[in-house]
Structure formats: C-alpha cells, structure tokens
C-alpha cells in the first residue's frame, strides 16, 4: 500500500488537463462576471441595499460603494488573465481574492456554485496550471512544463467528485426520495415547456427526476473515471445540466459543471485536443517534442501536499457539521451552507419585525422593504442567522433615532417542502439581545415533523 502510494505520488501526467481546466474555468468566470454586471445586479445587490448580511467572522467584508464595480473589474480581469495563462499565479490569487471577497459581502447571494468557484480558484493558486499552453510559457519558454505530477490533476478531479457525490448524498432524504419534494412543486410550474412540459403534471415524473437526480449525482464521478462508461456519463452530464438550465433559475451553474466535468477525461485526450487547437492557430505545428516534467523540490512538494490534504479534509468534513446541531437541518439551516445542498428545498417565509422602546413601551412594525432588497428579504425570512443580523441592525437603527434600548421581536412564518407554514422562531424572544454565533439557536421553534436521511 505504502509502496503504491509512493509510486502514485511519483507518477507524471500531461499538463493538458490543467490547461483546459484553467482556460474553461477562467472564461466561464469572466462570462459570469459580465453577465452579473449586464443584468444590473451589482447595483441592485451591492449598492442599493442599506444593510448587508455578513458571514460569521467576516463582518469586515463589505461592499465598497461605487468601487464595487472596480472589484468586479479586477475579478473579470483576473479571470481573463487566468484563462490566457498570463501572469498566471497573480491572476489566480487575484481571482480567488476578489471573487471570494464579492461572495463574502452578502450572505443573501450565497450560491453553492459561487462557493465552488472560490474553492476551484483556491486550488488553482496552488496548482501548476500556468506552465503549459499559456502566454507565460509562450513569452518565457523556460517556464514551460508539459508534464506535471499526477496528483495535481487528481486534486481537481477530487474537488469536482466531492461536489457531485455530496450533492447526491444530500438528496438521500425522505422529502426528496419518498415525497418527490420539492420537484413535485417545481416541475408543474414548468408544464408550459415545449414537448416535455405536459409530463411535469404527473407526480410520478417528479419521482423519476428525484431518484434519477440522486443516482446521477452519486455515481457521475465514478462513471466519469471509468473508461467504458465515460462517454455515456459525459453525455448524461450535458443532458442533465442542460435540462436543469432550462428548468431552474440557476444561472451559470450548469455550464460550469459541464465544463469542469471535462477534467475527468484522461490527459491524452486533453493533450490531443489542445494540440489540434494549436494546429489551427499556427500554420505549422512547431510543437517541441521534448517532454518537460515539472519537478517540485522535496520541500515544496511536501508543503503543497500538506495544504491539499488539509483542504480536502475540511471539504470532506464540513458538510457533516450539521450533525453537531440538535434539530432538523432543513428547518433551522444550522450547518446548511457550504455542503453542496442544491435544489433541496422549496422554503418560503414572511417575517414581521416589531421594535419596542424599553422605556416607553412605544412599539412599531417595520417595513422590511425600506431596508432590504427583494432577494435579501426573501433569503432572510427563512434563515435564522439572517433574522438575528437584521434584528441587530434594526436595534441600532432605532437606537440612533432615539428609541431607548430597542427590543426587537420577529413574527416569522415559514413553509417547507409543501408543509403548511408555521411560526418559525419564538415571537417572545428579544432578538436585540440574542447573540449571533455558531452555537445552536434555542429560540428556533420545533419543526414538529421529521425529514430523515443525510
């Protein structure tokens, strides 16, 4: 075993998969940034709101006013440089930094695929993806390396594999498998789709989609790794993500997954395709035949492997942190984010805040939309940590306007996966005095139902 492991870490492979990943990833992030800007979301999500929902421990990350546009310029520029392989390492660091900063500015825009982009960018900071098929190597041929340690490519495969497998695990729950929820709600809403639409009215179709979805997520990384099934599995990737792109408002996610799943194809395929593309580029294929392997010094190699090991240990464990919390995960959402829980809930809520003056008893109800965007209000109304954050904002806001030690109460009502809505948090708890941290929140009222599974 130890021998095999040692041999594995000494195996070399073509750098081509890293290069294609770098190019595809960089271009897709660039498109994402341009699309985000073009839709006017920078202003709507980061300039207009008066309040932003920070992540625990990242309260210092805030939108930068009109400089936020600059942040997106940096992010898009780094993505482009990354795709070109020009100032590769700086581009990767810049992309990881700017993209992550953007995502940390406001929790209400949290998306699993944004999280994936941050993680992949982090890996690219470490991996030698700028040494082959890049402007850096073209401008300075001494940098060029056509062979890399196999584990550098496998790191990307592992990350993508985790995304799929954990997304599949998360679907193994009673709502998804036994009640076909939430697809049973979402599919009939798409019954005007050409050709297949009318099918969505049948509940059994929701069951087929649910079961197939779970099976697909759990198995895709393995089918992509196994040569005889690879072509089929990749076809399924294209069809499946194409379908989700048509059905659900999930933006760039399907295209990102279609592109990054290419990393499972063997290095020779990537090398072959890249060589052919280069053939179109240049008149004569002047590809130097010599294979140049990238050899890390013993120390660098060890350090990199150590960082990667820590990174993946966190990736494997973090999604299970919900086990540390006592109540139903879907209801409390304690430990829900950063766990590849995608498309699992139809959750909707409404919340009415009341601010009371401790001295005079004067009370008033809050119009949430005077402070929050539509998206923020929607996200907040079903997520307890955001309810506290907004309550604290209201406390400070009314204190500034002369209310004595404002008490803040929330009357929240939430429905989850077709269950009739019910009161979400204790309306008698003064949220102004509750701390927002990672400990369980005892003021979330019980769900009174069970969703079993992962």
């Amino acid at each position: 075993m130890g021998d095999r492991l040692r041999r594995y870490f000494q195996t070399y492979t073509s750098a081509a998969p890293l290069a294609t990943f770098r190019m595809a990833f960089g271009l897709l992030v660039l498109v994402s940034v341009v699309r985000f800007w073009a839709k006017g979301w920078i202003a709507e999500l980061y300039l207009k709101p008066k309040f932003f929902f920070s992540y625990y421990g990242f309260e210092w990350v805030k939108p930068l006013g009109s400089y936020t546009y600059g942040l997106f310029v940096v992010c898009g520029l780094c993505a482009l440089l990354l795709a070109l392989g020009w100032w590769y390492r700086w581009a990767a660091v810049g992309l990881f930094g700017s993209f992550t900063y953007i995502e940390l500015m406001d929790k209400s825009t949290y998306l699993n695929h944004y999280y994936f982009v941050s993680l992949a960018a982090f890996l690219l900071v470490l991996l030698p993806a700028g040494r082959f098929c890049s402007l850096d190597a073209y401008r300075n041929p001494a940098l060029r390396r056509s062979q890399v340690p196999r584990w550098t490519v496998d790191a990307l495969r592992l990350l993508v594999g985790i995304v799929y497998f954990y997304a599949g695990l998360a679907k193994l729950n009673s709502d998804w498998l036994l009640h076909a929820m939430p697809l049973r709600i979402w599919l009939p809403a798409k019954n005007d789709l050409w050709l297949v639409g009318p099918l969505f009215n049948y509940p059994w179709v929701a069951y087929v989609f649910s079961w197939f979805g779970a099976f697909y997520d759990l198995t895709t990384p393995f089918f992509l790794l196994y040569r005889p099934t690879r072509a089929w599995a990749y076809t399924a990737v294209v069809v499946f993500h194409g379908l989700t792109a048509v059905l659900f408002p999930i933006g760039m996610f399907p295209y990102v997954m279609i592109a990054v799943a290419l990393v499972f194809f063997p290095a020779e395929v990537h090398a072959h395709v890249l060589a052919r593309v280069r053939g179109w580029w240049k008149q004569a294929p002047t590809e130097p035949a010599a294979e140049l392997p990238l050899r890390y010094s013993r120390r660098t190699g060890r350090l990199l492997l150590l960082v990667l090991a820590a990174f993946f240990a966190v990736q494997l464990l973090l999604p299970f942190r919900y086990l540390l919390y006592p109540h139903e995960l879907f209801w409390t959402e304690e430990g829900y984010r950063f766990s590849w829980r995608v498309m699992l809930m139809e959750k909707m809520g409404q919340v009415q805040f009341k601010v009371v003056d401790s001295a005079t008893g004067w009370a008033r109800l809050v119009n949430n939309d005077e402070h929050l965007s539509v998206l923020q209000e929607k996200m907040m109304s079903t997520q307890p940590d955001m309810l506290v954050q907004f309550a604290h904002y209201l406390r400070d806001y009314y204190a500034r306007r002369g209310v004595h030690a404002p008490k803040v109460y929330a009357d929240a009502y939430v429905s989850l996966n077709g269950r009739l809505g019910k009161t979400f948090i204790d309306p008698a708890v003064d949220l102004a005095r509750v701390t927002d941290d990672l400990r369980p929140k005892p003021w979330i009222l019980p769900f009174n139902d069970e969703i079993s599974g992962f």
Partner: protein, 370 residues
Amino acid sequence: MKKPVLFALLLLLTAVGVFSCQKTSSGDPPSPNPSLDRKALLTQWADSLVKPGYQRFNDKLDILSAKTAAFTTAPTTASLVEARQAWQAAYLEWQKVELFEFGPAQSVSLRNHFNIYPTDAPGINQNISTGSYNFELATAIPQQGFPALDYLLNGVALNDAAIVQQYVASANHRRYLTDVVAKMSQTFALVYAQWNGSYRDAFINNTGTDASSSLSRAINAYSLYYERYLRAGKVGIPAGVMTGTSRPEKIEAYYLKGSLPLQLATTAHTTVQQFFNGRAGRPSLKSYLDALGAKDSRTGQLLTDILNNQFGVAFQRLNSLGPDLFPTMTARNADAVACYNEMQRAVRLIKVDMTSALGITVTYVDNDGD
C-alpha cells in the same frame, strides 16, 4: 455492470420523451388535470374577470363624469346628491378592480391616481386657490382620485347647502372637481384600451412562472393588494396597529363616513375571495391549486379549504366592525386589531403557502434552491 444501468436509464428517458410525443400528437388532453393549464387560467382571468370588471367600472366612471359635469354646470342640492351617488357607485365598483394592478394598470400607476388616502385636503385647497396643479407629480397623488372627490363632494363645507354654495361661488372649485374626474377618466381610458387591445393576448400567452410571467405578476399584485391596501390600508393603519394609537381619520371615504367605508372594505374583501375561487367549473386559483394537490402535508387538509376558511373568518371580523368604521376604530379598537390579525393570517397563507405551492419565483436573481 455499470454500463447497462446507465443504458437502462437513458432508455427510460428516451421512453419518457417518446411517451410525451405521443401524448401531444394524438390530441389527447396533455395533462392529467386540465386545471393545470395556465393559459386557460389566464384567459379566464382576462376575459371573465379583468375585462368585464373594467367594463363595469368604465360605465360607472362615465356616469360619474356626467353627474359631476351636471353638478358643476348647475350646482344644486339635487345635482350634488346625484353626483355623490355616482361617486359612491363608482367607488364601490373600483373596489372590484383595484386588485388588478399589473400590466397596463401598473404601468400608469392606476391606484396612485385613483385611491391613495387619506387625501391631502390642505393641498387640494391650495390647488383650488392657485388654480395650477399637475396630477402626475408625486406630491399630487393624494390630491386626486376617489379620496379627493370624497373631500370635494362631502367635506368642503359643513352641509349640502353650504357645499353647493361653495361651488356656486367658486369657479376654481368647479374646475378642480372637473379636472379630478377628467384625470381619472383619462388615466383609466389608457388601461381600458390596452386590455381591449393587444395586452390581453400578451397576458394570456405569457404562461411561465418566472418573475416576469403573467401568473407571477398577477399573484404579486393580488397578495400586495390584500396585504398593503386591504389589511393595512383599510383596517391596520386607521386602527393604529403599526403605531399603537388609532387614527380613525385615515379610513377610506372619511368625509362621508357612515356605512360607506365598511361597505368599500367588505366589497374589496369579497372581491379578493371571489378572485380566488372563480366560478364553479371554470379555471381559478382554487382549481389550479387543487389540481396541484396543494395541501398541508401534515394533516392532508387542502390549502384552498384552509385559505377559504381564513378568508371567511377575516370577512366576519371585518363585517362586525359596522355600521360606521370611523367610531369603531377608536371605540372598539380591539375588534379592529383582531380583524387585522385574522387578515394577517390570510396574508401568510397567500404570500407563503400559496406562492410556494404555485412555484412562482419572486426575484430575477440566480437561485439554487436555497
């Protein structure tokens, strides 16, 4: 081992595809339940609710125009009473169409021109005395529409004889009254013409469930109307729910008082419930939700039954606030607050449970299912 499994699944998907082709090409009803046809639902709303509703309102508005013109031409107690009756009739009819604030009505901000109250009496008086005003300005919103007419026909003087005297004496009063009614007719004509023109087809063919779809717009308008303009506007604000002190002067039709304010509110509430239930055997929100199988999965009770019960309870509470809302807001404030609370329960069923069951999206921003 693995390839056959995948192959079987692909086969299944293909079979599903073929099955769907057969269904649509053979002309069979494509859905197990025709009530899930959103185009039919939208068509029913357009042709049986919005357009006829607007037509009836248009008739009442024409009568209002004629009667106020008769009054301003020859102000007498008799012509005042007739103008007031026409105003009441049109105001009641308005309650049956105010909830259609989407599409053309939304693009001209119809409600802003028709029913924002309490009206700005000092502003109106100033407009009358200066003789210069622009009804498109934001500050002019509470200086026009039915609430302004309430003041102009019922509140400019202490009794009918004095009101008549005011109009006999002041050309500016006559002109302002004429202009307010003219502005209403002119604004409504834009909306009415669009529904009778191309908008109807655009509406029924936008069958999606995204934030820009007809269903989403209509439902958003519906829930906003019930929450903000019925629950809060007609009951909550005058009862002082937001602030803790009752403000009875903020009721609708404050200058006339009597039975009209409650009548307006109950008409509005009945309209909301009728819009929900539609006519038996015709597509409606109720039939659509029932066809979706929307129910409380804990108890098995139909969502539409739960909602209808709640509408019933809220209506009963509302109806018990009579005969005159004005004194009730102060004297029986607890009853008004109780009514507000029952309406709030209905708001949640509409905004959370119903919207969720319909699968409509409320924002344009990407979302991976929370």
